[in-house]
Amino acid sequence: MKHFLMTTFLSAALALPAFAADYTIIAPANPGGGWDQTARSMQQVMQQAGISGNVQVQNVPGAGGTIGLAQFSSQGQGNPNTLLVGGYVMVGAILTNHSPVTLRDVEPIARLTGEYEAIVVPASSPIQTMADLVAELKKNPGAVSWGGGSAGGTDHIMAGLIAKAAGVDPKAINYIAFSGGGEALAAILGAQVTAGISGYGEFESQIKSGTLRLLAVSSAERLPGVDAPTLKEAGLDIAVQNWRMVAAAPGLSAEQKAAVSADVEKLAKSPQWAEVLKTKGWQDTYLAGEAFKEQLDKDIAATETILKDIGLVQ
């Protein structure tokens, strides 16, 4: 018994440094994007809430996050002080780029935030409702051009899902990929494309000022303060959220994993994090442990199906 107590104390003492650990967070994208902002917000909150005294953010941009993912899984191996930010876009990028490293090669800890997609048309467009847009799509799928972010990303997947739900061949959609939401927004405002798909936040101020018309949002329930039907109400059985997650390095011991999970939970439950979510307009979608892993597997399977339907993955 005495021996048992000793080991408990010893392991507690050994584990102690892990609780006040220094962290390096890898943002697998350029400064300014959603993952970078997530990583930097985590840095700020972890320091303010006293979870960690020293947090660094490192940008490893490229290829929808798969370059950062590959580097993280090989160099981070067994290191409990590194974290990786990722998200739904990474799931698609892994499939389209045939990335040799997948999310199974790291240790997903928790889903942190999410954003819903919005389908918009320019204010000058004759299309008034989602039903009008679907009717156009059924008439001639090629004539409806969709403007959104990178190929194989959440926006592209949404366009494919809408076509599929409307009974149109997803391969026939005319999706125009732009680099980042900004360029897509300009093309939509300039009526260069028929409709636009992106995160609701990207369009919010344009919708409020009346230059864009919001047709539908991709959430399961109506969003508070947003005057638009969900896709389900519009007769399309789709609910998609562009979520962001945090993962730990592979090869951690059970204690190390538990310590990282505890720190992430502290972060997600802190009042400072709630404040960040409010100012950035991110939804709190915290989901951890086995429940998150199950959801992740479901998302990966569903994404693979739709990317095959669109024809991006063979």
Binding site: R40, P100, G182
Partner: protein, 505 residues
């Protein structure tokens, strides 16, 4: 209140002592990161975001604006003195600026860059204040087909950087295109020419290629020549300051550079580099001293430097009026706005006029500060060139390598830097121009993507490329620029032209 009242009120906000200090910190930091190749203003602002969280919104945005403008200034210094462009928008500056520096005219080159940047920054910032809504309307008219026409025009004008042989120039340009294909195709998400190497998925970084071709290639070339290298670098010949003639030859390029750079910066898919290419080509066409181009023509520094600063101000047009970030730095400034719960966009001017006008006013102040900071330093900077050559070039190698490693800490990137450096050396030995390779890498993907987008929207109908009035006009200008010299040549005036071409480097 009228626009003018708002601006005056903004100036009062920006002139508060604390805000002046933030502006000073910003421009100093910005100049420093602009000088270092690889480390850009985007990363600097990102690193400072958490630090500035406790400041008031006005103060931190003023500091960011200072960094942004400062970065544009700093990039020109290393381009001119060391032939090492600190940012992609100062690549063109190296063409004439470095030749001037080697001929002992580094002082005037730095001065015309600094004053040109000031003039352009001043005019463009005032433009931002008064005509932003009109400019943004113009920018939104530009769709894929208009951008494609603009790229075609840029390709035609780029030929002015080809040197004496069109064939060699085109070879270099197509080398750039070939490098541009590497990586993930944006429109389909499929990888091209990456041969399974994950580091190649994101393509070749423009600054890596530029630093390698210009700095490393040059260093190897000089080292290979040994002691009897022909072109002796003179640190200072004549005055360190601009002469009356320098002023006379600089002021028009400054203004033209501003007019070209500002609207292109405001376009969502424009980019500061394109403005500098167009400005360089314009100055080369209009100059009274065409024989000096390729040997250090001051117009070739004045115009592009004005253009890149004007486009920096132009970038803020879509950011403030649409909430649309068009560069990495603008994206982080957007994050900075959001940190304070402000959403840039059509409503920002109405909901937070003090802040917007405070920002615009502080840009004016940052611009003055940069001039005050940079002009006295010119004398100090040119002393760099008096460093003995072995030390100087060893320093350039260290500097270029550190910058690349700093931006992307990867062994592969370092390998690419050395491989491209070797390529730059070989191209110099065999007399191929360097600049078109970098130009091809920048413009190639833009032209390809816009063409494919335009054709996808029209469902494969190519006539769409000519039916937009703006695209048609741009293509017509490009056609004229190609045909007129050919016609002149055919009518026997070609002797003059070929003589001009032959005297180029």
């Amino acid at each position: 209140m009228s626009t003018f009242d708002f601006l005056l009120q903004g100036l009062l906000v920006a002139m508060q002592p604390m805000n002046l200090i933030y502006a000073l910190i910003g421009v100093t930091l910005g100049t420093a990161v602009g000088v270092l190749p690889g480390i850009g203003p985007a990363l600097t602002v990102a690193l400072l975001l958490p630090v500035t969280y406790r400041l008031d919104p006005g103060g931190s945005l003023i500091m960011f604006a200072g960094i942004y403008y400062g970065g544009m200034y700093g990039g020109s210094t290393t381009s001119i003195l060391l032939n090492t462009p600190g940012e992609s928008s100062s690549i063109v500056t190296a063409l004439e600026g470095n030749k001037m520096a080697r001929a002992g005219r580094g002082g005037p080159a730095l001065a015309t860059a600094a004053i040109g940047s000031f003039v352009a920054g001043l005019i463009a910032t005032i433009g931002l204040a008064f005509i932003a809504p009109a400019i943004v309307k113009l920018a939104l008219v530009f769709g894929p087909r208009e951008y494609f026409a603009l790229m075609v025009l840029a390709f035609v004008t780029v030929s002015s950087a080809f040197g004496d042989s069109t064939l060699r120039g085109l070879t270099s340009l197509f080398l750039g295109f070939a490098l541009a294909i590497i990586g993930i195709d944006q429109l389909t998400g499929q990888t091209r020419m990456s041969f399974g190497v994950p580091d190649l998925l994101d393509g070749v970084e423009v600054t890596t290629l530029a630093v390698a071709m210009f700095a490393i290639g040059e260093t190897l070339y000089i080292a290979a020549q040994g002691e009897q290298g022909p072109d002796k670098v003179e640190a200072v010949r004549g005055s360190v300051w601009m002469t009356g003639q320098d002023w006379a030859r600089s002021w028009k390029p400054w203004l033209r550079g501003t007019v070209i750079g500002f609207p292109i910066g405001a376009m969502p898919a424009g980019g500061a580099e394109i403005g500098t290419f167009l400005s360089y080509a314009t100055e080369k066409r209009l100059t009274k001293h065409p024989e000096e181009f390729g040997h250090g023509a001051i117009e070739g520094v004045a115009g592009p430097e004005a253009a890149n600063n004007a486009s920096a101000a132009g970038t803020l047009v879509p950011l403030l009026t649409l909430g649309l970030p068009t560069t990495a730095t603008a994206a982080i400034m957007l994050a900075g706005f959001q940190q304070y719960g402000l959403q840039p966009g059509p409503l920002l001017f109405a909901t937070n006029p003090q802040l917007v006008w405070g920002l615009i006013a502080s840009l004016l102040i940052a611009n003055f500060m940069l001039l005050v900071l940079n002009l006295p330093l010119v004398g100090l900077w040119v002393k760099l060139l008096t460093i003995p050559r072995p030390w100087l070039y060893a320093g350039i190698l260290t500097f270029a390598t550190l910058g690349t490693i700093g931006a992307n800490p990867s062994v592969f990137e370092l390998g690419m830097l050395l491989a491209f450096g070797l390529m730059g050396y070989l191209m110099r030995v065999f007399g191929y121009p360097i600049a078109p390779v970098v130009v091809g890498l920048i413009l190639g993907p833009l032209a390809e993507q816009q063409l494919r987008r335009a054709l996808a929207i029209s469902q494969g109908d190519p006539s769409v490329l000519f039916t937009s009035p703006i695209a048609a006009v741009l293509l017509a200008i490009a056609a004229l620029a190609l045909i007129v010299p050919a016609v002149l040549r055919a009518r026997g005036k070609g002797q003059v032209l070929s003589q001009l071409a032959a005297s180029e480097d």
